[in-house]
Symmetry: C2
Subunit: 399 residues, 2 copies
Amino acid sequence: MAEDKAVTMVTCTAPVNMAVIKYWGKRDSELILPINSSLSVTLHQDQLKTTTTAAISRDFKEDRLWLNGEEADAGHPRLQACLREVRRLARKRRGSSTDAAPLSLAYKVHVASENNFPTAAGLASSAAGYACLVFALARLYGVEGELSEVARQGSGSACRSMFGGFVQWHRGERPDGKDSVAQQVAPETHWPELRVLVLVVSAEKKPVGSTAGMQTSVDTSPLLKHRAEALVPERIACMVRHIRERDFEGFGQLTMRDSNQFHATCLDTFPPIFYLNDVSRRIIALAHRYNAHHGCTKVAYTFDAGPNAVIFALADTVAEFVEVVRRSFPPAPNGDQFVRGLPVGSASLPEELLSAVVLEPVPGAIRYILHTKPGPGPQLLDDPSQHLLGADGLPRGSA
Amino acid sequence: MAEDKAVTMVTCTAPVNMAVIKYWGKRDSELILPINSSLSVTLHQDQLKTTTTAAISRDFKEDRLWLNGEEADAGHPRLQACLREVRRLARKRRGSSTDAAPLSLAYKVHVASENNFPTAAGLASSAAGYACLVFALARLYGVEGELSEVARQGSGSACRSMFGGFVQWHRGERPDGKDSVAQQVAPETHWPELRVLVLVVSAEKKPVGSTAGMQTSVDTSPLLKHRAEALVPERIACMVRHIRERDFEGFGQLTMRDSNQFHATCLDTFPPIFYLNDVSRRIIALAHRYNAHHGCTKVAYTFDAGPNAVIFALADTVAEFVEVVRRSFPPAPNGDQFVRGLPVGSASLPEELLSAVVLEPVPGAIRYILHTKPGPGPQLLDDPSQHLLGADGLPRGSA
């Protein structure tokens, strides 16, 4: 680290991840320790990523934070927890050498972060955000090694965004959370045919936030307790096996069942929490009709804490299924571009597929489809032109 | 029984019941033995009832059945099972006396049945229907004593319609089902202030039938298995206590939680089953806002295998809550009569209640409200003019 320069900064990117075995409920809300293990697919940063620049300088008077260009509260306890933990790791590391002065650990930090996707996509941006923050801070302070435990303390699912491909977040047993870490099950190159479609639903309003929601579920749902204790451990083991074997039938079936079970525990919460709306339910029914028509699992849906569907499919299914979605939810004629992200080929639908699968189209119910695939973990950007902060430590382009 | 007459007939009525601890899943689909006990409130026949005339004659050539004026298949296995069981009981009873010839047990039977409520109400008419059939056949053949076990073999929940007031259907342990019977927990007079509002939702289509649905749930939902084995027994005991103590707070809370848990197990079914739609969810949210405003449980919702809500409340809450529903779901100006059944007084809503509870009205989403209360069990009608069959054993008014 060149600590004699006025401002030292690094810029990194980090991915969004989508759980296929869901995390819902904390056993320790301070350390963010989950009641069960979870497993996710890291999505490719070409389509969905957070970029974060972190800077330190002896001239900074206070910690400052900018999110998507707007200044935000840098005193947020979760952000401060990540900062404290990274500094602690840095201190520990430097304790064993004498070549670096610990002075910079007392400097204030400036952080700027932005997403390349709209918040409207309803994808958990906090996971990518905290993963990116922790990755950038670690590079800034020269910290290496296990960082998912730190990211977890920013946002639980952020620990899974610290790796690419297929990632398991181990529940862990220790009260201090040292064993509640993420681990890569397989890299993104392991299953090159796997594709992901995000179906962005036109939602009327923001649903219950996941932090408040999961706490109410832990407090009131006997079904969630049973799921976490008795059902998830076996599901994790099965899902790891399906991924290792690239068994889409098994992977898809279990993904759908686990999404449904998560939403079932939300409904068993009191008062009940609903994240699926009538459009979500139509997408679920459509996926089942489509699979039934083909006689096997060609597409698998999963829903997080919102109405948007995430669909897994193999590459050779994408063009046909996208056309099925387009026919089932005809886009508004003057609306946004309907298919975004990776290219999607064209497909003509056989008459018997249309009549069996496409029933009662609902125009405009899906705003757009984002086509992506599994991708790598956080990246360091070498090109200084990509820093979000200028040499003065303030957002570029700001007055 | 006057067996020398050409046609012998009796006419009875039977009530609908609404489960507050839900039945979902059979352990024996032939005998209709449930995986858990359930508990229901019998609704008053002034608003909702089935009327059934059963007749026998040596002149009848075959069993015949008319439902709401339309001839239906009298060979239906469930109907034949009830007929067989009642005849068996009659034979058993007559076996101990010599004054009655068993000849009439071989006669063919004519049955006519009709409901005083439209099928559109989405209320399980099969419960009232089979309760009424069994009650009528028993009177026809002079059978007395425990009949819920027979009604259960027509339609599971029919056994609960064999009693008025508050009724528990015991799961039972025996493989032959002899101990899977209904029992009155308290008569309808026990809680005179209790009222019931059926909110009939404008539904787009018929949902998955409950017989097929519950079988899929038993086969695929691990949460249903846990609910039936580990959670329902304690819930039944609590609900009995709340009813005995006329504790509306406890009764209402548990009613809502159990409805939500039942629908959660439907969502955990694979493929998932959805009975609640967006309007159902708005009613749920409305009930929670209304209770939150009052700081206690004033209304409690429950939903069966469809989107219609059944609301329990005490008499002094009805006028206000009906007005809240009317403001939240403004009736179509030229629609049907919005409030039906028992009289509902008028109520003016305080401004702070309106602003806290009535958000974003959805015109026309509720077709009408039926106001009723707990009522008695099946009744024998003495007046021959009420028979649905004429002296010729055919429906009155038919050519």
